[in-house]
Amino acid sequence: MQFLPSHDVLIIGAGLAGQRAALAAAQTGVSVAIMSKVHPVRSHSVAAAGGMNAAIAVDDDWTEHAYDTVKGSDFLGDQDAIEIMCSEAPGEVMHLEHIGVTFYRNATGHLDLRAFGGASKKRTAYVADITGQAILHVLYEQLMRHHLTVARFEEWFVSSLILDDDGECTGAVARNIRSGDMQIFNAKSVILASGGAGQCYKPTTNALICTADGIAQAYAIGAPLMDMEMVQYHPTTLAENGFLITEGARGEGAHLLNSEGRRFMEDYAPNKMELASRDVVSRAEQTEINEGRGVGADGQGIYLDITVVPKKRVLEALREIVNIGRDFAGTDITREPIMIRPGQHYIMGGVKTDVDGRTPVTGLYAAGEVACVSVHGGNRLGANSLLDTLIFGRRSGEHAAQRGTDMPMPAAPESRLREDVARIDAIIARERGGRRISAIKDELGAMMNDKVAVFRDEQGLQEALEIIGRLKQESDVAAIDDRGTVFNQDVLGAIELGYLLDAAECTVVAAIERKESRGAQFRTDYPERDDEQWLKHIDLTRGEDGSPEISYSEVTITQWQPEVRKY
């Protein structure tokens, strides 16, 4: 017996955005399915450490949060979306608190707030330095509680999104990783919540599962991608292997030191020092390194000195980085500085959506890192990503549920299933020869980290584009070893590599196009911001020949005109 899953709302990805969308949609009474290629608690939201921004302090106001976000975005963020995100933030924090998130308290028993980069006030609610994990696990508790109303498809891999004859998205084809069985999932609306594209880079703070799946799947059916050139390098990733050291460390008062033992941030951001925006701090560090003031044997590191934070505070509020320092760098952060450097962390760009998560493809929504609303513009503030996932996850879930009320359930033809089965079988049956998937992926990652990083220029970007073209050809014929069906991770890896190459190509094309420096995009050949020419989003759509076609869209400005950005 074949089972034919049909749901009002199908959510792909079960991190914070996906789980929040599922719970919001289910609350309206519609039928909901949530699907993920990993068990939901393995989603990369689990790694978000520092916290979640919301103007809940009595002396704070959401408009200040919104202004900080606009400024952080280097004025590329859409201000209508930013206003929604920041004004709804306090309510969302309280909702999480009421369903069980164990936010840390202050001496009076109210929610405590810590300082974070680019913020004019302390406004980051947190759970030690495992905030993402705490929220993700609490949302999963709610999914367990509502197991009768939200169907979970854990360890299912989406092979493609379904587009009907009218160009509407009506579901997905997916493979049960455990059995290799494939199915059509019909749905009135599909919400993509499948995360970012960090694995385009090596090293990256992102998990191995962050392979641009949703970005490439949406792009494949004609949805535009926006702001893809904006790739965030986090200022404090472990020099050793690229693991994340939370911004919370600097929020709690840690210093950045160069080889002269000096807090060099005074030269770059005298007011905010270590707590300037991430793009500013990462560029400062890279400049110090490039000018010979880096630390470590190869001079490629910077010291993060956490010993200035009281030990009791480190133990209760930064426990995770105590562990990471000890286990992965052999450093006791309570006694000595730890060596860090800027590392790929987040993509501001993604599938273009409106403030309800709708993409230009009818029936397709996106929320979280896969999406670009755009609330982050050229640079995301720390602790705004959890907020983004939850606010726009919820709004997508509510809107998608509402949309389906008077619609008939779509039914995709069986041929769509057969196409995907044949495509995957063909990969499994590929003849041996060519390069290994892992070698192609490694080359891509190292190349991106070399040429499409903190500092970029025309020549490097053109070289990057050429290399990606070659890697695409190589990946089309790369053979795999696993011929089986149960947990064939090999064939999934081959498909993911294709997704990564699509996303990387879009990033490079957009970075070549934007001939200015703004936010995370710093062009050494165009070092200034140019509002006259480039105060606009770059949108990319897949062209007939498979390469990206460029168009532009306006930045929405409501109350804050662009101004010189200083920290």
Binding site: H44, A47, T102, N106, H110, A134, M144, I209
Partner: protein
Amino acid sequence: MAEYTLKLRRYDPESGEPAYWDEHTVELEPHRSVLEAILQAKALHDGSIGIRCSCRAAICGSCGVRVNGKPGLACHTHLDKAQRGARDGVIEVEPMGNMPVIKDLIVDMDAVHWKKIQRVTPWLEAKQPVPEREYVVAHESMVDVTQSMACIQCGACLSDCLSMEVDPLFVGPAALAKAYRFVGDPRDAQTATRLQDLADDPHGIYDCTHCFKCIDACPKGVAPMSQIMRLRRRAGNDFHIFDANNGERHERAFVSLVRQYGLLNEAELLPRSYGGDSPLAKFKPVAAKELASSLPAIAKALLRRKVTPAAVLKPHKLAASDLKAVKRIYDTIEGRDERVELNLYISGRDEDLLP
């Protein structure tokens, strides 16, 4: 760079063949992880090696395995350390125990781990009315439950749980740590119900045998057994709940015996566990019945000289000064206003506290 040989336990459910060992040699720096070694073998030699993994940084909880027979995360075990623990210089990696194997190093966590989590009502039953803003609660209480919130659901603690091996229905270390996360949460309205539920279940909090294996296995310092002991103290001391396994009375018997004699008096342990502190305890019907059914065990203990007939009649005797010292310990602990609970997030590890 150094060379390491990995011996992976492989199982292909489609082959019809039993599990087998598969060796690969990799080259990596000694402080790299066992996971990186497996991923290198997978990348360079055999892409069909099955292992769940994602974050590589001991946060996502995907890569629970046994390395040289010990459960833990592959990404959290350094190669040099694994090499030191290896037999014949070969690092053995096997799937976790107590859960069915799906393929190679991948086990069915739904069949065991997640079922048990679902068992403990794993969501907040919030106190009513829900306030408009946050619940006002002590900072310490949130820091306290963070130790169990820190659990990443990797399953390492289940893998070698001795109680679960004997009693597959045991709720188990991970789920009970999860239960403490709600019992310790001042915003939860169901504390008494939760404790009663876990005490009434013969596979609940008193089904743990204090073997410490889960504490050793946990990569995140959650110390599941400590959370289980805290559930017991909350149930027994604070809510006066007597459990289905008679565990609470048994613990009280220990405490009263050591208070009286300074040492354990095995001969009196069983009568007191069932009959209470009275000298006539052993003549209470319930105790007598339990004694009778324990006679074979007692006989065996006598035969193996774990207990001597003399000791049964004449309890251990401690020097008066030592007995006084024991009493002082009791007085100090019982004189405290609050129970002191060990918590990693509050006290840190021993090595953290060195000057």
